[in-house]
Amino acid sequence: MSFLKRSVQYCLFAIAKLSLAHHEPYVVVVSGSTNRQTVKEAIGKKLGEAFTVRVSPKNFNAELGVPMSIVDIPSGGGSFLGWFSVLIRALRYAIGGKREDVCIAEFAVSRPRDMRYLLRLLRPDCVVLTDLTSEYLSAFGTLETKAKEYEDLLMRIKANGLAVLNQDDARICALHAGVSVVKTTYGLAGDALYRANHITSNEHGTSFYVHAPGLPVQHAHIISFGKSAIYAYLAAEAVATHATTHWKKT
């Protein structure tokens, strides 16, 4: 790693930490092997109905991207001056006036201990796990090693926080066994707490019924297609329920 990148990463990390401590947003972390971006945007859209929300853009999901997304800066490119200017901007963001109520970050892991590094930055109020596949598995050796990364994430959830887990992914559900945290589940399976059924689609999108704890069954229509979009919708519903009851807009 170049000296420039190392220095930028160090400064950025510190500024992002400062920003989170100063503004105290409700922090949602979306992680898992696939579908992170769709879930992230669905949560942003849903929470945007009640809160001001910052959603990490594009694939800002690793050691540089996550802090950049927290303090709302673009890449400084390959030059010292470019990065100096964006770091100043980041600092202004961190120590400035009121920022967004909710911060939605995306965490991706491609090597062992990636998650531990990202978790030095923040403790999430809510974690959404999408699935656990063999993507990038060669760096981990086994799925168990990779699963350990997600267990680390679940263990760092704040005391009154929530884990939102994909019930249709057996490996994700198994993660919870060793972790003491309040959880809810989403999926198409009959035992998911946030569940969709009677799914139909036509050229205008996808319709389904949503079952959620303590709520009447609701009909939903989204202009997107595919299971991934339904998962995103359900995860967003679960996060919204938690956010509105555990974090008051100031």
Binding site: S75, G205, K227, A229
Partner: protein, 385 residues
């Protein structure tokens, strides 16, 4: 000895003229549509990181890496097109592989595909190699090379299976209007045809008219297969990466052919495409601005050659498609005469279909020096006539 199917297939005339030009010392080429730019640094850096991390050496899933397909789906959604990244997008080895895989999945032996004329030269070969028959339908030069729907309808037979067109059009730079696209879709619906919409030049549009695609219309999602390539927009012709998208029922069939042909698009190029979508939008804007400037230069130079050429200012792409105003037998001979006498390579219009005859295609994807040098030589040649 070789298959009958390939007896009528030729190496693209564009590549033939480039090959001929490469053998002439000091020749200057405005032939092949290659951007003069290098791939943006941000893309190269992204790819180098992935190579170093050891993530490019294995196959991806046949339809492409999950990250890239998800990024593509989000990019499409931002532009009013909603497609499931899991089942409705295939990352391809450039646009032409996507087109060929699509045609191979759609066509039975002898099926016909309607091609507006003039249009991109390699479509004909992709149709033939898939067992189909290209049927040219003239565009109307006097209407900025717009569709002629009467001619389209007349060309439809029991064997017609699809319409394949590029929008913006190569070689004319035409952007088809919303009304024209709508009429085309209605025609496709009436005769139960698929529509293959190749949109590789959509990022280089020089008018204020909003760009529309039939893939934005939910009604046609099972009928329209949209094709995009990273080659032109991001100066990535050598990476060979693009994508196609359509309804899941269509994509499932095309995927079988794609998997058979190439297993998956090169993974290193898929990461380049991801880098392009994530970080290179400013570069696309920079390229567009430069092309717009070069279009002005080339058109101004053509204004001074009105005894040789007359032309329409292209609304898009990086091509001008002037009509040859001097006596000549075929555009093929005219182009080769220019190459032999003054060392300027242009593409003969006949390469793009019968209506292209009498024209040549000039690329302003090449740098200013090449454009000016080619025009200097053409002006001198004009004075000798």
């Amino acid at each position: 000895m070789f298959a009958q199917r390939i007896q009528n297939i030729r190496v693209s005339p564009i590549k033939q003229i480039e090959l001929a030009a490469s053998k002439i010392p000091n020749s200057v080429s405005l032939a092949q549509g290659i951007p003069s730019f290098d791939t943006p640094e941000s893309i190269k850096e992204r790819v180098m990181g992935e190579i170093r991390a050891g993530r490019v050496s294995k196959y991806s899933l046949a339809p492409g890496t999950i990250e890239l397909r998800e990024a593509i789906a989000h990019d499409l959604a931002r532009n009013g097109m909603h497609y499931d990244w899991e089942t409705e997008i295939i990352v391809t080895a450039g646009a032409i592989e996507g087109i060929t895989a699509t045609l191979a999945s759609l066509l039975n032996e002898g099926d016909e595909v309607l091609l507006p004329s003039p249009t991109y030269t390699s479509y004909q070969e992709a149709i033939k190699i898939s067992g189909g028959v290209p049927v040219f339908v003239p565009l109307v030069e006097d209407h900025r090379w717009g569709f002629n729907f009467e001619a389209f309808e007349k060309a439809i037979t029991q064997k017609t299976r699809a319409i394949l067109f590029c929008n913006p059009n190569n070689p004319t730079g035409t952007i088809y209007t919303a009304e024209q696209l709508q009429q085309l879709a209605e025609l496709a619906e009436k005769y139960n045809l698929y529509v293959l919409s190749d949109e590789v030049y959509k990022d280089f549009i020089y008018t204020d008219t909003p760009y529309l695609t039939l893939a934005q219309k939910p009604r046609y999602r099972k009928r329209v297969i949209r094709i995009f390539s990273f080659s032109k927009a991001y100066a990535m012709t050598g990476w060979r990466v693009g994508y196609i998208h359509s309804d899941a029922s269509v994509i499932a069939e095309i995927l079988k052919v794609h998997d058979t042909l190439i297993t998956c698009a090169p993974v290193v190029s898929q990461y380049a495409a991801l880098g392009a979508l994530e970080n290179a939008q400013e570069d696309v804007a920079r390229f567009k601005k430069t092309y717009q400037h070069r279009r002005k230069i080339l058109c101004e130079r053509l204004d001074g050659m009105d005894t040789l050429f007359s032309y329409q200012v292209p609304d898009s792409s990086y091509f001008v498609f002037p009509k040859i105003n001097v006596a000549h037998d075929t555009s093929w001979n005219f182009a080769f005469t220019l190459l032999e006498k003054i060392g300027v390579a242009l593409v003969p219009g006949s390469a793009f279909g019968p209506e292209g005859e009498g024209h040549v295609r000039m690329s302003f994807g090449r740098d200013e020096a090449d454009i000016n040098e080619a025009c200097d030589r053409l002006e001198k040649y004009m004075q000798t006539l």
